[in-house]
């Protein structure tokens, strides 16, 4: 068992990495569950790309500085989210096409800015994160974003569920439809920005979507999905960090691949709607 415990007991950087991963997961995973249920799984991916130019501007201004890159990322993400929503509501273009257009513009701008200054190593930091080198400020930021996310989700839980399940009904009984949609997109952006510190812009989406997708094969209620997704993410954080420690693998991809493995196992063997449920159904009931 020492290989399981010792890395976390002996090395402070592993403890910080684990804390960072758990913090990101607790906030990002419920957001991911709602993204999945709203059929917006790829929106998270597009948003992650959209954040890049903001982080790049922050990096150009202040170097590898947490605050500047975070503010830049949040601003870029929110601009893309608001522009996307506005174009979808006021023109003939649908939300998916509108988002695709803006995130591609944003991504190209981001790559351009990163390559203007700095080496490829810096670009790799932004793209793949540095979970093994989280400082106090980064940890505080991650925990703050997660706290804010959980409080916000708890407050708008009812309108958010209704916006997913029956948006037309929500619009007919209240004015929540627009606000809850934009607030939710805001939470997506915030959590992606939190995620890219540790896991990088590209990997941050994985911690959102993979646990949610795995949970769909285990639970038939939102509460159940949230619980399963949180468990998946905790297990994959520990497994990924251990794999990274013992085998010298990059930590971000290792964590996401651990989550991906759990997703594939769920896909194959989960009790609800999985391949096993389809091809080896349990005996049916009388009524």
């Amino acid at each position: 068992m020492s290989w399981l415990i010792d890395p976390f007991a002996d090395f402070v950087f592993m403890q910080r990495a684990l804390l960072g991963c758990i913090a990101i997961s607790l906030g990002a995973t419920p957001v991911g569950v709602f993204l999945l249920l709203r059929r917006m799984s790829l929106t998270g991916d597009a948003m992650a790309h959209a954040i890049l130019p903001g982080a790049a501007v922050g990096y150009l201004v202040a170097g590898l500085n947490l605050g500047a890159m975070t503010i830049g990322g949040v601003v870029a993400g929110l601009i893309v989210a608001v522009l996307t929503g506005a174009v979808a509501r006021f023109t003939a273009l649908r939300e998916d096409a509108s988002l695709a257009a803006f995130y591609l513009i944003s991504l190209a701008l981001g790559v351009l800015l990163v390559s203007l200054k700095g080496s490829n190593v810096d670009l790799m930091h932004v793209l793949f994160g540095t979970v093994l080198a989280l400082d106090d400020a980064a940890l505080t930021l991650l925990c703050a974003i997660t706290t804010f996310t959980l409080v916000a989700l708890a407050m708008v839980f009812r309108p958010l569920v209704l916006e997913c399940a029956d948006p037309r009904f929500l619009a007919s009984v209240s004015r929540w439809s627009g606000p809850v949609h934009f607030l939710f997109l805001g939470l997506v952006v915030l959590n992606l920005v939190a995620g890219f510190q540790a896991l990088g812009t590209l990997m941050a989406v994985g911690i959102m979507i993979l646990p949610a997708a795995a949970a769909r094969f285990w639970a038939n209620s939102i509460g159940g999905m949230l619980a399963v997704a949180a468990t998946v993410v905790a297990v994959s954080s520990v497994a990924g960090l251990l794999a990274s420690f013992h085998a010298g693998l990059p930590s971000g991809p290792a964590i996401i691949l651990a989550a991906g493995t759990l997703y594939l196992l769920s896909l194959a063997f989960g009790p609800s709607g999985s391949l096993a449920a389809r091809y080896w159904p349990r005996a049916h009931l009388e009524a």
């Binding site: 249920l37 708008v156 009812r158 029956d166 037309r168 007919s172 209240s174 929540w176 939102i222």
Partner: protein, 246 residues
């Protein structure tokens, strides 16, 4: 009046789907809206809910609360939510976004499920329901909305006889409670039997009043003469407002 409509024109891309409609609904009236496909029936309901803004004219809803059952609902039936929780959303006017759903509310949900014949379904996910059961669920939610004006768009289409009869009983219960109900229907015989008043619509109002005076062979023939297609070369409509003429 529960509803007063004056010179209402609703449409899409400037083409009228409901054209210069005047209509008064008395409080507590039970009215069927009848007409061929493309007559503007669903469009009229969308105008009444505010989903579609009038191109001309005005709608005065003299009542506080409105409930609406659309023809094509946008319910995501794969969403993991139980029947009881879904139906409880009809209590929105009481609990809003943050209010507590208490014991009394749970009793109301159980009562609404019983009224539509779905006792014992409250824990079942909506994804496991049949089409008819979904329509029963929608009616249970409408019951909880406790609305003064209830708009139903083809509520009995594609239902078996028993389900349609059960849900018709719910409509008659609303009528007995003095609520104003406006329902789009295609089954003329059912309208004759169960709906005291009828609006016969063919883009314009063909007739409105007591059902047996509206659903005459002559009126139905006139309604069928309506051309369904929009005329792309039509001129701008300059018909003077009929305000006060109704």
């Amino acid at each position: 009046m529960a509803l007063r409509i004056r010179d209402l024109t609703l449409g899409y891309d400037r083409h009228p789907a409901v054209h210069h409609l005047d209509l008064d609904l008395a409080p507590g009236s039970l009215t069927a809206v009848v007409g061929p496909n493309g007559a503007g029936k669903s469009t009229l309901l969308k105008g009444l809910t505010g989903e579609l803004a009038p191109l001309e004219g005005c709608i005065d809803r003299g009542v506080a609360r409105l409930a609406y059952l659309p023809q094509l609902s946008e319910v995501d039936r794969s969403f993991p939510i139980a029947v009881g929780a879904f139906v409880a959303m009809g209590l929105w006017h009481r609990v809003g976004a943050f209010g507590r759903v208490g014991g009394q509310d749970a009793a109301r949900v159980a009562e609404a499920l019983a009224a539509v014949g779905l006792t014992g379904f409250d824990k079942r996910p909506i994804s496991a329901l049949s089409g008819g059961q979904v329509q029963r669920v929608m009616f249970a939610r409408l019951l909880l909305q406790d609305a003064d004006l209830i708009l139903l768009d083809e509520p009995f289409t594609a239902l078996d006889i028993k389900t349609a009869a059960d849900l018709l009983a719910v409509v008659q219960r609303w009528h007995g409670q003095g609520r104003t109900v406006l329902a789009v229907l295609h089954d003329i015989e059912a309208v004759r039997r169960h709906f005291p008043e009828t609006l016969l619509l063919a883009r314009e109002k063909v007739a409105h009043g007591a059902t047996d005076t509206v659903l005459t062979a002559e009126n139905l023939f006139r309604a069928r003469q309506m051309s369904e297609a929009f005329d792309d070369t039509a001129n701008v409509c300059v018909r003077p407002a009929t305000r006060g003429a109704a």
